[in-house]
Symmetry: D3
Subunit: 204 residues, 6 copies
C-alpha cells in the first residue's frame, strides 16, 4: 500500500499516452497531481471511463453552475464520510463560489449552511438520493421544479450525485487521501497559497 492507494499506483511515465497527457495537464494546471488521477491509473479502461463520465457531468457550461455542482459533491460525499471528495471538492467549491466558508458548512451540516433557496433545494435532494435513494419519489422531483430548476438541471443533480456515490466508494475502497494542498486551496489569495505550498510543503 502506497501513500496514495491500497492498490498499485504506476509511475506516470509508464502509463498509456492518453492517461499520461491528461495527468500532466492537470498537474500543470493544479501544481500537483490529484490522487484521484492516480488511484485508477493501473486500470486504464476504468480510468478512461471514469474521467469521461466526470467530464460529462462536471464540465460543460450549461445548467448548474460549477459552484453548485461542487456543493453537490461536498454534501453527498459527507453523507458517505469520504475524506478525499469532501476535502478536494471542498477546495474546488471554494474556488468556484469565491466563498471560503460555505463548503465547510455543507461538509458538516448542509441544513444550517448559508445556502440560497435554490442551493438548498439542490443539496437537499442530492443528500436524499445519496443516502436513501429508494425514498426518492415524484414529489421530490416536483419540489425541484417548483424551485425553478429546469429538467436539465435536475438531471445534473441526479447524475452528479450518482457518479459520486461511485467515486466515494472507490476512495474508501482504495483508502486514497486528499492531497494536502487541497486543505488550504481557496482559503487565501492565490499568490499567498502558492507561496505557502511552495516554501512550506504540507506534510502528508
Amino acid at each position: 500500500m502506497s501513500a496514495v492507494s491500497r492498490f498499485p499506483v504506476p509511475d506516470v511515465e509508464s502509463l498509456p499516452d492518453d492517461l499520461r497527457a491528461a495527468i500532466e495537464e492537470v498537474e500543470a494546471k493544479t501544481g500537483f497531481i490529484p490522487n484521484a488521477y492516480l488511484h485508477l491509473a493501473h486500470r486504464p479502461a476504468e480510468w478512461r471511463a471514469f474521467f469521461a463520465y466526470y467530464a460529462a457531468v462536471m464540465d460543460g457550461d450549461e445548467g448548474l453552475t460549477k459552484a453548485e455542482r461542487e456543493l453537490i459533491v461536498v454534501a453527498t460525499s459527507a453523507v458517505n464520510d469520504c475524506t478525499y471528495c469532501v476535502v478536494a471538492h471542498g477546495a474546488l467549491a471554494r474556488l468556484q463560489s469565491k466563498n471560503p466558508i460555505v463548503a465547510d458548512q455543507v461538509a458538516v451540516d448542509w441544513r444550517k449552511a448559508d445556502l440560497t433557496p435554490r442551493e438548498r433545494a439542490i443539496v437537499g435532494f442530492a443528500v436524499k438520493l445519496a443516502g436513501t435513494p429508494a425514498d426518492v419519489d415524484d414529489d421530490d422531483l416536483a419540489r425541484l421544479r417548483a424551485s425553478g430548476l429546469s429538467e436539465d438541471e435536475i438531471w445534473q443533480i441526479g447524475a452528479i450525485t450518482s457518479f459520486f456515490a461511485m467515486s466515494n466508494r472507490l476512495a474508501h475502497f482504495t483508502a486514497t487521501p486528499p492531497n494536502p494542498e487541497f486543505h488550504l486551496m481557496g482559503r487565501v489569495p492565490r499568490e499567498m497559497y502558492e507561496q505557502l505550498v511552495k516554501t512550506d510543503p504540507p506534510a502528508r
Copy 2:
C-alpha cells in the same frame, strides 16, 4: 414521464450512430432493449461513459467469473432496494451461473444463500462497501486475500460495487423499471422462455 423513465427517452432511430448500433446489437442478442440502455440515451456523453465503464468492469474474461460479478450486482443492489438491477441482473446471474435459485436467495438475504466460501467472502465484502463504505478497513481486504482472492479479483469486487452504487441511484432517480422479460429469464429452458415471452408477452 414515459414507462421507462421520469426523463425523456428518445426514439432509437434519432440517437447518434454509436448508441443506435449498440442498442440494436443488444436488442438482437436479448430479444428486447433493456431499459437501462434507454434511460441515459438522452445524454449521449453520459451513456457512452456509463457503458464504457460497464464493459470495463463486467466484461472481460480475467478474474472473477461472470456469475460472481452478477451476484455482486444483485447483492449490492438489494442493499439499495433497486428493482431494476436486482431483477435484470438476477436474470443474468441465473444465466451465468446455470443456477435458477441463488440470485433470488441473494436478493433477499445473502447471509443464508447457498454460496461457496469464496462467494460468501466476495458478497459479504461487496455488501459492506455498498452499505457502509467508511467502515471498510485493511482487515476486510486481508480477509479477502485469505479467502484466496487475487489482487485483481479484489479490485473487481470494489469496482463493480462502486459502479452499481451509481447505477442503483440512476435507476431510482429515473424510476426505470426492469423489462418484464427479465423476471422469467434463466428460470426455464431457453426455448420455453422464448415461446412464453413471444406468445404471451408479459404485461408491464
Copy 3:
C-alpha cells in the same frame, strides 16, 4: 442441522395424526411439503397454534383479497430480509394475483411497484407496522380509512403483518429455506410448471 431447519425435523409418519393429516393434505395440493410445515413439527402445540392463526388471518373470503394478503406478506417479509417468506409467498402472490411480476417488484421496492392506490395504502401501512411499529399512529389509521378500507380490512392488514413478524423471525431462527419449487411457481402456465419440476427437479 438438516436442510430444512437448525432444529430437529421429525419424519411425517411419526407426527400426531392431525399434523400428519394436514401435512399430507398440503402435499397433495401443492405437490411437495412446504418447509414451513416441517420446521415447527417437533413442537406440535406450537405447530397447531401457528397454523390455526395462519388460517384465521390468511384464509376466509371476507375482507382483503387473497392477492392483497400475499402482497402484505411479501412486503413485510422483505423488511426483515426473510428468504423463506418472500419466496414462498411471492409464489402464492403470483398465483392469487395472476400477475407474474408484481411480487418481485414488491420484494425489492414496494414504493416503485405497479400497485393500485388501494394496494399502495395497504402495503405502505404494513411496511411501517413491520419495521417501525411504535411510529404507527391514528393518522395512519385515518389514511387507511380514507383509502376506502373497511375496519375489518384494516384489522386484517395489522393481523397479517403482526403474524409474519413472528413467522419471519422463526424462519431466521431455524434457517429454513424455501422449497426450490416456489421460485418458479406462478411464473409459467401450470402444466409447464409441473412438467419442469417433475422432469428437472430443482436443486436445493
Copy 4:
C-alpha cells in the same frame, strides 16, 4: 376507540363461551382483566390461536424458568418500544423472579442489568433476534450452547421472541395500554398491593 383498543372491544358476556370462561378465569386470578385478553376478543379465531400459542411457549414447566421467559418478553418488547408488553410482563417478571428491580433494568438497558451469565446469553440472543433477525447466525446458536442452554431451551428463546414480535405489533396496532395495576404489581408485598389497588384504584 375505547380506552382499550383502536378497534371494537365486545362485552365479555357477549363472547363465545370458551373466551368468556378464560377471561373470567384470568380475572379471578389477577383481580382484573388484562387488556391483552380484550383487544383480540372481537376476532375469536385469532384470540384462540393467540392464547393457544401463548400457552405453548409461556406455560409448561420444562426448560427455561418462568422468570427467564418473562425477561425475554421485557427485553424484546423494549426493542419495539411496546408499553403494554414491557409493563405487563415487567410485572410478571417481578412476580416470577421475586426480584423487584431487574425487569426495570432490562426494560431500559439489558446490557447493564444485573443478570447472570446464563440470563445474559438468553437476553442478548433474544434482543438480536427481535431487532435484527437476519443477522442471527450459527455462531449465535453455538454461543447459546456454550452457555449451557439445551436445544429445547434455545428453541424456547426463539419461540418466545418470535411470538412477542407479533404481540408487540398487535399492541402498537391497537394502541392497547397496560392496565394501571401492572405498574405496581410485584413491587410490594401482595397484601399491600391488594389494599392499594382496592382503596385507591389507579387512574387510567
Copy 5:
C-alpha cells in the same frame, strides 16, 4: 469498579466541604445518597459544575413545571437507554406529577403515553433534539410556540435535553446504576414507601 461506578468513589468524609455538605443534605432529604452524587465526586471541579448546571436548569420556579422537566429527562434518557436517569428521574417524575404511571409510559413509548397536548409538544421536541439534533429546525421551534410555550419555556426544554445528553453519557461511561430505592419511590404513599425500604432494604 465499585457497585457505583467503574471509576473511584471517594468516602464522603474525605470530600471537600462543599461537596460533603451538599451530599449530606440530599441524603437527609432523600434518605440515601443518589449514586449520581457520588460518581463525579472524585473530580470535584466537574462535580461542582455539573450540579451548578443541574440547579440552573432543573430548579427554579419559573417556566416549565417540575413534573414537565422530569418527563423531559425520562423521555430523552430513554432515547439513550440510560437506566440511571430513566429510573431515578422516573421516581422524581412520579413525585412531582402525583401520577404513578406516566413516567413508565414515557420511558417505553412517549408517543402513546397519556400526555396533554402541551406535554406532547414538549416531549416530542426533546426526543428529537436528543436523538437527531441536526434535524431540529425553525419549524420545530414554531410548533412549540404554537403550542403556547413561551421563549423561556422553550429554552428550558433545550437546556434540559442537552444537559441530560451529557448526563446519560456519563452514566453509561461510569456504569452507574440507580439506587434500588428509586424503583419504588412515588408508587405508594410515602409512609408505606419508608416502611418498605426500611424493613426490607432493596437488594442491589
Copy 6:
C-alpha cells in the same frame, strides 16, 4: 433570531461583571468573541456552569494533551453534524497540534485519519460513547488501558465526550454558527492569518 442564535443575545456591556470580564478576555486573546460565549449569555447561571465545566475538562495540564482533547471534540461533534464545534474546535486542534490537516480528516472520517495508535484508541472510544453510548462496555475500557492510557486520561475522554454531547445539542438548538475566522485559523502562519482577517474580514 440574530445571526448568532435563535434566542436573545444580550449586549456584552449589559452582562453581569464576571461574564463580561471573561468575554472581554477571550476577545482580547482571540481577536473576536466566539459565538459560543454569546449564545448562553442570556442565561447567566447556565453560562457560568457551562464554562466552569468547560474549564474543568478542557483546561489543565494533566492527562491528555490539548491537541488530543480537541481531536475528541472534533470527532464527536462530527458524529452529531455540529458545524459550530467541528469548525471552531477544528481551528483549536490545528493550533494545538501544529498540524493543519488532521482536524479536517477527523471531521470527515476519523477511521482513515493520520492518527497515532494512541490517538486512534482515544478517538474510537469517544465516537462510540458519543454515538451509541449504551454499547460502551468493560471491554472498551480495557482496550483503552491496553493502549497505555491512564485512568485519569480515560476519564477525560469520557468527560469531554459527554460535555460536547451537551454542547453540540445546544449549538443545534440555538443554530449558532462558528465565527468565520475559525475556518482559516491555524491553517496559515499567525501573521498571515491576522493580516487576512483584518484586511479582508470574512463574510458571515
